[in-house]
Amino acid sequence: MEDTAITNAMPYIVIANALVVSLVLIIGGRMLVRGQLTSDAPGDRQNLGEFMLDFFVGKAREMGGRDVVLAVAPFLATCFMFILVSNLMGILPIPLLNNPPTSYFAVPLGLAICAVGGTLILSGTFNGLLGAVKHLFWPNPLQCISEVTDVLSLSLRLFGNIGGEHMTVVLVTSSVAVGIPLILHVLGLIPAFVQALVFTLLTASFIAGVIHTREEYEQAGAKVGAKGGAGSPAPETGVTSVVEGEAAPTM
């Protein structure tokens, strides 16, 4: 990092590493779906792939029906897998390849622009162009500024966590090369997963806020209320009684 030659070559290294991440993901995905996919006795690879996709499909199913799931779940899964594999590149013991692309500010910024731009595109797809524009300026005309701050906060959060961790590892490795970097790498596994998850969850919440208009929320609330008239009071009272019963002995 200190050498000016490496500093000048940094963009190329980052682009090459991002390409490596994409290649790994594409080849991994192709290997996972190769062969016969079945619903009665899925094999190991199909199990692994479904395990990874299940979370995102569940997230997207909270937002809407089949068309929403088909549009949103692959988007979220792509964000998560790309960021996760990029973050994990930092622990590879190979020079040049161990610069995580997400520790260079341009990559998180590009990812955040993709996430917020994708949110706007999904908004246009499900609400129509007028609905998307209306969502930007109604009820508060300043709402369009929040798209810019969303990009900034998403990208700065990812960059700060992964870049800060990478910077610490580089600084420590330059003074103590044995032992301590291993501990830092193990600790760095936590933000690598958590930041990928947080980026995806925040994107999911942006999308959920965009494709549900206020009227839909009210309709959903009315439906739940109508259903709850018959069925829900009993479980609700059950839950409160359980909470009270557990809380009482501790008091």
Binding site: L156, R157, G160, N161, L201, S205, V243
Partner: protein
């Protein structure tokens, strides 16, 4: 003298930001763990909500880190 002062000033934002963020994160995690122990069946939803809240607080801390890095950069430039 000015450079020393600038270097000292550049650690203030990250110090204050990290302290306040740590205190608020403690509150979030304590409440989330309390909720999880009381009702283990909603633990996944609580965990997700906890992560999002922590990320929003952490963003402020990261802004402090960025400001501190910019100040530190101005120290090395001076």
């Amino acid at each position: 003298m000015e450079i020393v002062l600038l270097a000292l000033v550049s650690i203030i934002p990250i110090g204050l930001g990290a302290t306040v963020a740590a205190l608020s994160m403690r509150r979030i995690s304590v409440s989330a763990i309390e909720g999880m122990t009381r009702q283990p069946e909603i633990a996944p939803q609580l965990f997700t909500a906890m992560l999002i809240g922590m990320a929003l607080i952490e963003a402020l801390c990261i802004y402090c880190l960025v400001v501190a890095l910019m100040l530190a950069g101005s120290v090395t430039a001076a």
